[in-house]
Symmetry: none
Subunit: 135 residues, 2 copies
DNA sequence: TTACTTGCAAACGGTTTGCATCGAG
DNA sequence: CTCGATGCAAACCGTTTGCAAGTAA
């Protein structure tokens, strides 16, 4: 049932290019940005391929994904599969990672007492960062 | 330049309908959901009008907005008195309300130590309810 | 009456998909 | 050779916009 088939993932030129571009970029970038960057570097890669690879990498837990206010998905190379949340400034868009053991604990308690299974949660925190709040 | 013209905002039937629908719904709902709800209630309102009103209300600070994983904008009446979260079955759509004092406490601690201000958070938990999980 | 609001439909922009071709294993 | 990967273009879907008709003030 829960086939652990980790997906073959052939190492193509394009796949490597996407991984490298993400490794070099510390922040979040959109699929379109990534595509433009690769093209600018002379790497001939299709947009659909970029999306495809991003999906694979997200499924594999290699990437963090957030949504920009404009509705674009923003990707960033993620430190292992450690689950965390984000504190985002609604003014400047700056994102900080948060670790929330209390939340995780609470969530799993709720889940077990409710009888729900295969549960996932998402916690979004937005506010004004110190810089924007004082401005 | 920074004209503070707060926009006249005529009180039309449609505007009132949107406000009321949002007031009755404690959680987040998408523009499309809102539109469908209004239509179902017999309220003849255009989708573009719903979007228009939502934008006005967001600009006025009356609404909280977050992006769902699917990329849809989700709106919620801001400063909702009874803040709570939802546990939703991704199969049958059943929703249970959750109260999370631990989460609220944790969130406010994080917020105060981070220096962020005017912070709001949303926690969504999804899974399979007992009925759907056993089915 | 004035000019803001409505609402249809078409335009938009990000993302996904269909399918013929390419190429890693 | 085989079957997954690629990539163009078209389909999708949520959202925005153009503009003529409606209506609050």
């Amino acid at each position: 049932m829960t086939s652990e088939t980790p997906a073959p993932q052939r190492m193509t030129r394009q796949r490597k290019a996407v991984e490298e571009a993400l490794s070099k970029n510390k922040g979040f970038c959109s699929a379109q940005d990534l595509h433009a960057t690769l093209r600018a570097q002379g790497n001939r890669v299709g947009l659909a391929t970029v999306y495809s690879q991003l999906r694979v990498m997200v499924d594999a837990g290699m990437l963090d994904v957030i949504r920009s206010d404009a509705g674009e998905a923003m990707y960033r190379r993620c430190g292992a599969g450690d689950h965390h949340h984000h504190l985002r400034c609604r003014s400047c868009g700056n994102v900080e990672e948060l670790h929330a053991p209390a939340v995780e604990t609470w969530a799993s308690e709720v889940v077990s007492s409710s009888g729900y299974r295969d549960v996932s949660h998402s916690l979004e925190i937005t506010g004004l960062c110190p810089a924007c709040a004082s401005g």
